[in-house]
Amino acid sequence: MEVLIAIMVGTLTAGGLFLTLKGRTFPVVIGLTLLAYAVNLFLFSTGRLFINQATIIQEGITQYADPIPQALVLTAIVISFGMTAFAIVLSLKAYGEYKSDHVDGIGEEEK
């Protein structure tokens, strides 16, 4: 399972990095989303991977899954969600202003 998660994090990061380096705002936003997925998966795995383990202390249970990474991932998801929404709105605004979806705003104005 560790290998599978590692490959997934690596693939998502590579894909996200590739897309963020593109020149158009749409792939960049998708790339940022992929990077956020990758980092969330990565954070989740930092508490070590367990299946069917309790997170809250109960009697008679000795092995627990770490609840902190889950809380961290939850926070990170909310923040990245808000930031992505902001990036989308800003890309739309840039498209409306420059009549171009290039990240440098190369459009009608500068032609």
């Binding site: 960049v28 980092v39 902190i68 990170a76 808000g82 930031m83 992505t84 902001f86 420059y98 705003g105």
Partner: protein, 506 residues
């Protein structure tokens, strides 16, 4: 007394909420409320300073969960220096935005302004790396909106670049945090510091890479080479009060390097002890070279001031890289000085741009305008201060840094870089000043009558910091020395946060 820790956070948050709900209130009411909160913020930081004269550390456990299980806020001498700087800078920025009517050009200026201060103060007070990330995001989200506030030309493009690079930076931050949590099982800075001292040899390279990953993130905020390209356009395109407030944002990155890297990888960290300082030093030198070239080549005064900010960041990075008692003392002194003076310089550049009409702050021959002598004198004073000439505070800051560099092995590089850069900055600013103020046309700018003496008060406030920091240099440096001692020996910090006695327990 513990209340001194939380109040500088609660006031901006409360101010943001009140000004948001008062959006239907009249403009003057909103302004009065905002100014009242600003006075309270300044009083609270002064109270925090007073509280620190009684005890060295104040730890506020949120929800009464003890560290390292809960999250904590820590007030110490290092954070209070930056809290006071932020409050003074914010007073200048808010005052100017009110007197020059910058808060009416778009919606919700006041709530965004206060949320930005909330994020900045939070980053200075937190004792937990994940919380540092959260406060970074708060200040960034407010800064994205403030950067775009007022719809200026080219602002959307600068904003888009700024947002995207910071989103990538946030991702890197989380990767760094994840590695540290995976290895140590804690995110409390004090607890991490203890655990790094007993690190197993297998984990050393992993932790070293996490530390450098965090250095990249903080360096992105501080704008170091090669991650500074967003800064000149973002700072020069946004409105003047926002640019002034942003002068503290690069210092948030530098503060995080001092706080996180200094505490985690201090002398106790065995083979990782200060392993990051050569990186910081050489990156600082490169940033200084690029920043100086930027100052020399700028065609617009506002871009030039943005590059002056970059030069001051580079000087601070070099001082952190040298990492002697003297250079850290100098860095803290220079950090306060450069933040407040660079912030004021943005306001002067904006006044010049507003006075000259269509050509703005372009460094060319232009019309004469009202208050040209007063603005020229202020330009002269700010120029001397930021370039580091005597008798103003920039000189003392650079002198302290260079004195601290005497015992460093690469002292020649540091001396050459800082002194040549200062000379080139002086020459460039002199050239800009002579073109703007001496090489004027005969006709007078017709819009400059809109500028009144009221617009100058916040600039007077910020420029007065330079002579005051010289007059009170002794008490200020004495206080800074105490902060530096705590930086080199974080034992007391760790003991205060975790409530343990290290001498007895280990």
């Amino acid at each position: 007394m513990n209340i001194a820790t939380i109040v500088p956070l609660l006031i901006p948050l409360l101010a943001a909420i009140v000004t948001l709900f008062a959006s239907k209130a009249s403009l003057s009411q909103k302004r009065i409320v905002s100014m009242l909160f600003m006075v309270m913020l300044i009083l609270s930081t002064v109270y925090a300073l007073y509280a620190l004269s009684i005890e060295d550390y104040f730890v506020y456990t949120l929800g009464n969960w003890e560290a390292p299980f809960g999250i904590v806020l820590v007030l110490d001498k290092l954070s209070v220096i930056l809290l006071i700087t932020t409050a003074l800078l914010a007073l200048g920025a808010l005052w100017y935005s009110i007197s020059a009517q910058y808060d009416v050009v778009g919606a919700h200026f006041h709530p965004l302004f206060w949320l930005q201060i909330f994020g900045i103060n939070g980053a200075f007070l937190t004792g937990d790396i994940f919380n540092l990330f959260v406060f970074f995001e708060i200040l960034l989200l407010a800064s994205y909106s403030l950067l775009l506030h007022g719809q200026g030309k080219g602002r959307t493009k600068a904003g888009l670049h700024y947002v995207i690079i910071n989103l990538v930076g946030s991702t890197l931050f989380l990767f760094g945090i994840g590695i540290l949590y995976g290895v140590f099982g804690t995110l409390n800075i004090a607890d991490l510091s203890l655990k790094i001292a007993q690190i197993s040899p297998d984990d050393v390279s992993l932790v070293a890479s996490a530390g450098l990953l965090l250095l990249v993130v903080f360096g992105l905020k501080a704008a170091f080479f090669p991650l500074y390209l967003w800064l000149p356009s973002a700072y020069s395109k946004t409105s003047a009060p926002v640019a002034t407030l942003f002068a503290i944002m690069t210092k948030v990155g530098l503060y995080s390097i001092i706080r996180v890297h200094g505490t985690l990888f201090g002398t106790h960290a065995n083979e990782l002890a200060f392993y990051y300082t050569p990186w910081v030093f050489w990156i600082g030198i490169l940033t200084l070279i690029m920043g100086t070239f930027g100052v020399m080549s700028a065609k617009d005064l506002r871009t030039q001031v943005a590059y002056v900010v970059l030069v001051s960041v580079a000087t601070l990075l070099i001082a952190l890289g040298i990492n002697t008692v003297g250079s850290i003392n100098g860095a803290l002194y220079y950090m306060v000085h450069s933040t407040l003076l660079a912030g004021g310089f943005f306001l002067v550049a904006d006044m010049i741009a507003n006075s000259r009409g269509t050509i703005g702050a372009a460094i060319t021959k232009g019309p004469s305008f009202r208050y040209i002598i007063l603005l020229g004198s202020l330009f002269f004073a700010f120029g001397i201060a930021v370039a580091g000439l005597p008798p103003l505070s920039g000189f003392i800051g650079k002198l302290m840094i260079l004195q601290g560099a005497m015992t460093y092995s690469m002292w020649g590089v540091a001396f050459t870089a800082i002194l040549i850069s200062s000379l080139l900055v002086v020459i460039s600013l002199a050239k800009s000043g002579s073109q703007i103020f001496y090489d004027t046309n005969n006709e007078r700018s017709d819009i400059s009558h809109e500028i009144t003496i009221q617009h100058f008060y916040p600039i007077f406030l910020l420029v007065s910091i330079a002579p005051l920091m010289v007059l009170f240099a002794h008490p200020i440096t004495h206080f800074i020395e105490l902060a530096t001692n705590a930086f080199f020996d974080p034992t007391a910090y760790i003991e205060a946060v975790l409530g343990v006695n290290l001498a007895k327990d280990i």
